[in-house]
Symmetry: C2
Subunit: 438 residues, 2 copies
Amino acid sequence: MVDAKNQPSVPHVVIVGGGFGGLYAAQSLGKAPVKLTLIDKRNFHLFQPLLYQVATGSLSPADISSPLRLVLNQNKNTQVLLDHVKDIDPDRQQLTLDNRTLSYDTLILATGVKHHYFGNDQWQNIAPGLKTIEDALLMRRRIYGAFEAAEKETDPEKQKAWLTFVIVGGGPTGVELAGAIAELAHSVLKNDFHHINTTSAQILLLEGVDRILPPYAPELSIRAEEDLTQLGVRVQTQTLVTQVTDSSVTVRQGEKENVIPARTILWAAGVKASSLGKVLNQKTGVALDRAGRVRVEENLSIPGYPNIFVIGDLANFSHQGEQPLPGIAPVAMQQGKYVAQWIKQELRGQTHSPFRYTEVGSLAVIGQNAAVVDLGWIKLTGFIAWLTWVFAHIYYLIEFDNKLVVMVQWGWNYLTSGRGARLITGEDSLPKGVMSNE
Amino acid sequence: MVDAKNQPSVPHVVIVGGGFGGLYAAQSLGKAPVKLTLIDKRNFHLFQPLLYQVATGSLSPADISSPLRLVLNQNKNTQVLLDHVKDIDPDRQQLTLDNRTLSYDTLILATGVKHHYFGNDQWQNIAPGLKTIEDALLMRRRIYGAFEAAEKETDPEKQKAWLTFVIVGGGPTGVELAGAIAELAHSVLKNDFHHINTTSAQILLLEGVDRILPPYAPELSIRAEEDLTQLGVRVQTQTLVTQVTDSSVTVRQGEKENVIPARTILWAAGVKASSLGKVLNQKTGVALDRAGRVRVEENLSIPGYPNIFVIGDLANFSHQGEQPLPGIAPVAMQQGKYVAQWIKQELRGQTHSPFRYTEVGSLAVIGQNAAVVDLGWIKLTGFIAWLTWVFAHIYYLIEFDNKLVVMVQWGWNYLTSGRGARLITGEDSLPKGVMSNE
């Protein structure tokens, strides 16, 4: 294949964001007669569904990350650019990057979402969310640091606050974090401390609506709550968080307000669209939804600009029913592939069909041997669901990068109940109280 | 075994530092009739000989780290304390920690060494050394960030400076870093960039004396230099560094001074003892050597204080010939075991012999399939030496923590020439020029 960068005649497709949507689009265009540029702020694709395992010390960052250049280096038409997109000029078809501009013929925006604290951005430093590797390592420091601080604390009240872990948000991430922390406290760490009994730790999972995993079938929500309770998690539904400080969280259940002393508060409650959605809205007038997601056409482009596509978590696609498609990896992957296909059809002068999402189901893992899987036509729980979850994730992981190591690590963790990656690293952010001057 | 913490009559042994010396001492005392406290600033033992593989993206931090609580949780007499030792009172037999004091009957200091810039501490931020996980991740950011910056740079001179890697110091760490970076540039990354040819990168290894690996047999130094040259490293001996800036290094060879434009300068040149050596000197009058190491007695205690032992890199043990024992893992391990044995003999009223180091050889790896091994009675090079190196390291790694994953990762890297752990993480320290505002 001829190197496309020397052929100014082929169209230039620019993809912003190397998540599931952007990467699948890039891979599907790898042999197409286009010049392709993938822009990301980071030099790796992150397998976000397993980020909670980095946060809880089962996996290392590299286990769930694939270097973008490595994944794409077989595609001669593709270049990877480590850069920020600061602005979009849709009429000139130009992006403003850090120190330069870049022209495009077709633009695919796939920059995803970030945490949302519902107007309480000051909670961000206290109650970290889980979107990046750095977030995960911060959570890891907080979690393991809390056990260390409890071990050194002599005041029983303060010790109890160190051993109270509050997870805000009962979606899949919240459920997975709560289950993993419960396993730490009740099994992995139980022989490792002298002054504390880690099994006395309280793990609270707070959810605003009346059940956890609200998008799943109700019977799966019930089963997930049972499984979590068995692991030692206290699930509180219809509970709203009204205040967060570095040593407590205030919750409201109906009329009752309650202050829970807790030193580790983890945020799994909400997301909002990346800021490029807003830029696009200002420049093209495209509508955004309440979470800042871009309302896209049936072919994932935006009104009036058929050469600008928005995919993945950043897109609000509501043409398939009443609800927008959920912000999950399979949606982003299918959208990435669809847009790549659309571009190839266009180059060949072929006709298009609108995007249709093929349901592949929802999965959430609760602990070793326990998960819930909703495939639509069948609902699984317990060990079978857990096995399904394991194989689904390994399948996607090895698709990119042959992450053999993850399988071995999982096998090993499974046999030993180990958490080998429980390092507290990054010198600046141990919880106060663990170390005075580190 | 009865939990020793409830028996105030047993002696309290305090070990400071969970490196090779401290951890081996702790393990050897795990069943002894003592109360044992191991203090470390970090919650993990670090397998430092492989730290360069974290720096160059072959392994993840957790692959070469073992949680101290996990390693020691079978020893009921042992507690692990995450703390700083700020001061020592040898007459009261007391340590000052962060927020409390701790009494000991016997003290084992094993806090090792840190980088030494020979009076040029301002170079520290420019030319990072390699002692901690954070150091390794910083080096990784610098190395991979430099290739990214070169890819974006349009000025050929500046691009060349980004593609020039200078390693200061031709000991094992310097040799290993230089070899690994050369492999990155000449093989691993060579298909991953569009605008630069990574094989044009210059890797310079600078050494002050007349050969690299000075403590090894001269023929091994020659072979190591040949192997490095073949990999694409330029070795410059009898070369002193006189100035380091963020874009150049100034070197002197004889009378000639020379400024080399380079954006990545890595420090593998010198170490000095941890600051507890100085505290001990002030409080006990014990002699230090030029590097700040504590001159110990034949049984590794210090003069006048038979209950204070100093082991590992922090100790200068010169009773076996003219040269002090080198600062390598086998010395520390043997010293840790010796002191544990000494304490157990003392408790039983048995007699002691002075410490004697059993030579186990020196190893340095140069690249895939190339290493030099000096076992004293035999010298190995090439593939056989590399195999020896691999098995020696795996042997020690699995001794603690069954690091099966490292074997799989190595096997995988070997077959694929991959560097899966080449993530640029930690948002604040990308080299200037890669990203304006990250």
